[in-house]
């Protein structure tokens, strides 16, 4: 594992890199990279995993002009243009929203996109709540909202002080991008059809964060010209990457192989 500072324009991304192989850009969710290590280690056996902290998380800088989630999409659009090969992009929760923005905005091709329990789109009506309100929920209720089995949520007691500081920064950063409108950009949905890369949406069967029935399936239908596929991981909650890292990594590899085979098939069909 290496921790690097990657410059993208005037943003410095505090980035974890591990593994070797084709590039995989991992876009983290609300709590940053704190609880993602099992997934990243798994993926690192097949990919060169590039896991930046978004601007305002970790030690990544946030210049004043980075204020909206779309700005993060632009930062990563610039980053993928500098990579040696089109990356596979995996985004979780808020990172899924960032990945969707990236898919809409990028000028460089992406190998594929996997959105794990993504936020970012408002599907319900104005009096529907698409997502549980993590800022009005009791602290003790959050594991039940975010994890398939609350008993398996990360233990937050007796951590080193720097972990609490990391989380405090992460939560403030989340509020920066997600406070209002809550966890979505009202203008994103109609642009999702621009996503050109093969895209898969993954959700846990026990996701109690998305309150709207069929949220992720309906999200998937908005993506690309024909809609994206939805796969469900049994027993996993909203934090798919923490609840089911091995299953998620397997689905990523499987989808990557399928899309690679399809690409070969398509190109041989062209001949």
């Amino acid at each position: 594992m290496a921790q690097r500072h990657v410059a993208v324009g005037d943003v410095t991304l505090d980035t974890v890199e591990l593994g070797a192989g084709p590039p995989l850009l991992f876009l983290h969710g609300e709590d940053g990279l704190m609880h993602c290590r099992p997934l990243l280690d798994d993926l690192a056996s097949s990919y060169r995993v590039i896991a930046p902290h978004h601007p305002a998380w970790g030690e990544s800088t946030r210049p004043a002009h980075i204020g909206e989630t779309r700005d993060l999409g632009l930062v990563y659009a610039e980053l993928v243009e500098s990579l040696e090969a089109p990356p596979l992009v995996l985004g979780c929760s808020f990172g899924g929203w960032v990945a969707a923005e990236l898919g809409v905005l990028t000028r460089a091709p992406l190998a594929a996109i996997v959105l794990a329990a993504p936020t970012g789109v408002k599907i319900g009506g104005r009096e529907d709540r698409d997502f549980a309100d993590i800022w009005i929920a009791a602290f003790d209720d959050l594991p039940g909202i975010l994890y398939g089995d609350p008993a398996r949520s990360p233990v937050l007691v007796d951590r080193p002080d720097e972990d609490y500081l990391y989380l405090a920064k992460a939560q403030e950063a989340t509020a920066r991008y997600c406070w209002k409108p809550y966890m979505h950009d009202p203008t994103l949905a109609p642009w999702l059809r621009r996503i050109a890369a093969p895209t898969l949406v993954v959700a846990g069967s026990e996701d109690r964060f998305a309150l709207l029935e069929g949220y992720y399936g309906r999200y998937a239908t908005l993506i690309g010209e024909r809609g994206a596929e939805l796969r469900t991981i049994e027993g996993a909650g909203h934090r798919v990457e923490e609840d089911a890292p091995a299953e998620l990594a397997a689905i990523v590899r499987e989808f990557d192989s399928e899309r690679a085979a399809a690409a070969v098939g398509a190109s041989s069909g062209d001949q």
Partner: protein
């Protein structure tokens, strides 16, 4: 001149007890609010202000949202009522929660209107707002300070521009034709106030010549805030700021006897119990506290024990301790003021000396179910038996340089 701006938060005190209803804000259905009772309460609260005006006291109002602790949700409205219903009192709002208001120009319009209707009796406070407001008003706590100061700049420019519209394209606010009608009565603008409970924020208020108010932090905490303000003025090469630039808000009851006053002041002190009557997350929106401080809150939350915050620097009691501390003990450090007129005079004198002098006291005179006659009696004793003596024996001789302040023993 020395001023006492009395106030009530206009509580709605008829919720079920905390044992049955642990929460009093944000999520309490307003079916618990009886409009008939509300009518009687507003009548009482405005009668208190009316009586204060007649007694020669000044008036303060403040606002909170979606809460039974304070039904004065829009201070511009109560100020407008007071502007017409009172004859002489100054009317202070402390204040306009700027970062929770989408349009600072609208705030400027409201304040200018009240200033004209009251014929220049308005004091305009700007506040960041308590954290619970972030949820009640759905206003992000992130970058509050930056939004606050841009809003202040925009309002001040609106108050003081008289040659036609100006343009404002800032980071947070955009206007193409700011041109206040009416403009304020007081020139160049009404006095501007802002509260802080920490010395770190005081220099920013001094930079802009804003009256600094602090609340319930005790004499030692107040002294630190005022000292930081005065030091900044000195650093800027400005003359010593007048005492009118300093204010302290405190719960106060003046009785005929100490015993009666301590007993009645317990009803004002109930504010502390009610202020903490809500789930912790309502007062912990990310961004409100600096990450270094909030990290400690997260650590405490993870351990399942949220420490109660002290009112001021050591040895200040915590909010939880205040609830169970007798009023008499709280008066010792200036956390409350209560007693017979002589006792309250001595408390005010000692506090005045301990903080290097101040020109404004902001006493919370009413809370819970305290009735009109009880509050008016306390205000009468304050206005007739305490303030004239305090002004004659302490405030004016000090201002004239004829009296040395007695610095309390460390």
């Amino acid at each position: 001149m020395f001023r006492a701006y009395v106030f009530t938060e206009m509580p709605y005190p008829y919720l079920p007890p905390a044992a049955l209803m642990p929460n009093n804000r944000i999520s309490v259905p307003n079916s618990y609010y009886d409009p008939d009772a509300g009518y009687e309460l507003y009548k009482k609260y405005f009668d208190i202000y009316h009586a204060a005006d007649e007694l020669g006291l000044d008036l303060m109002v403040n606002e909170h949202h979606t809460t039974a602790t304070c039904t004065n949700a829009v201070t511009a409205l109560s100020m407008a009522i007071l502007a017409r219903e009172t004859k002489r009192a100054r009317i202070l709002t402390l204040g306009n929660p700027l970062v929770h208001r989408p349009d600072p120009v609208r705030v400027a319009e409201e304040m200018a209107t009240v200033d004209v209707i009251s014929r220049g009796r308005t004091d305009v406070g700007f506040v960041r707002g308590v954290p619970q407001e972030c949820i009640a008003v759905n206003s992000s706590a992130v970058d509050m300070r930056e939004r606050f100061w841009e809003a202040v700049d925009l309002i001040m420019k609106a108050f003081t521009t008289h040659d036609g519209p100006f343009n404002w394209e800032g980071t947070y606010y955009h206007h193409r034709a700011v041109n206040l009608w009416p403009r304020p009565y007081q020139q160049p603008h009404p006095p501007i106030w802002s509260p802080t409970t920490g010395a770190a924020s005081a220099p920013m208020l001094a930079d802009r010549d804003i009256t600094v108010a602090t609340m319930a932090v005790g004499a030692r905490g107040c002294a630190e805030v005022f000292k930081a303000y005065r030091a900044r003025c000195e650093e800027l090469g400005r003359p010593e700021p007048p005492l009118s630039k300093f204010a302290y808000s405190v719960q106060l009851f003046v009785g005929d006897t100490d015993e009666q006053a301590f007993s009645e002041a317990e009803k004002v002190k109930l504010w502390y119990r009610e202020a903490g009557r809500h789930p912790i997350q309502y007062s912990d929106p990310p961004g409100y506290l600096p990450p270094e401080v909030r990290a400690k809150v997260l650590k405490a939350k993870a351990r399942g024990s949220i420490p109660s915050l002290p009112l001021g620097p050591p040895p200040a009691p915590t909010v939880a301790e205040v609830v169970n501390t007798p009023v008499r003990d709280l008066t010792a450090g200036g956390f409350m003021m209560a007693g017979n007129p002589d006792t309250v005079f001595e408390q005010m004198r000692d506090f005045f000396d301990a903080v290097g002098g101040l020109g404004n006291l902001l006493p919370m005179m009413q809370y819970s179910t305290m009735p009109l006659d009880l509050v008016v009696g306390s205000m009468e004793r304050l206005a007739r038996d305490v303030l004239p003596r305090f002004i004659a024996e302490v405030y004016e001789p000090t201002v004239r340089g004829e009296r040395e302040m007695r610095v309390p023993a460390a």
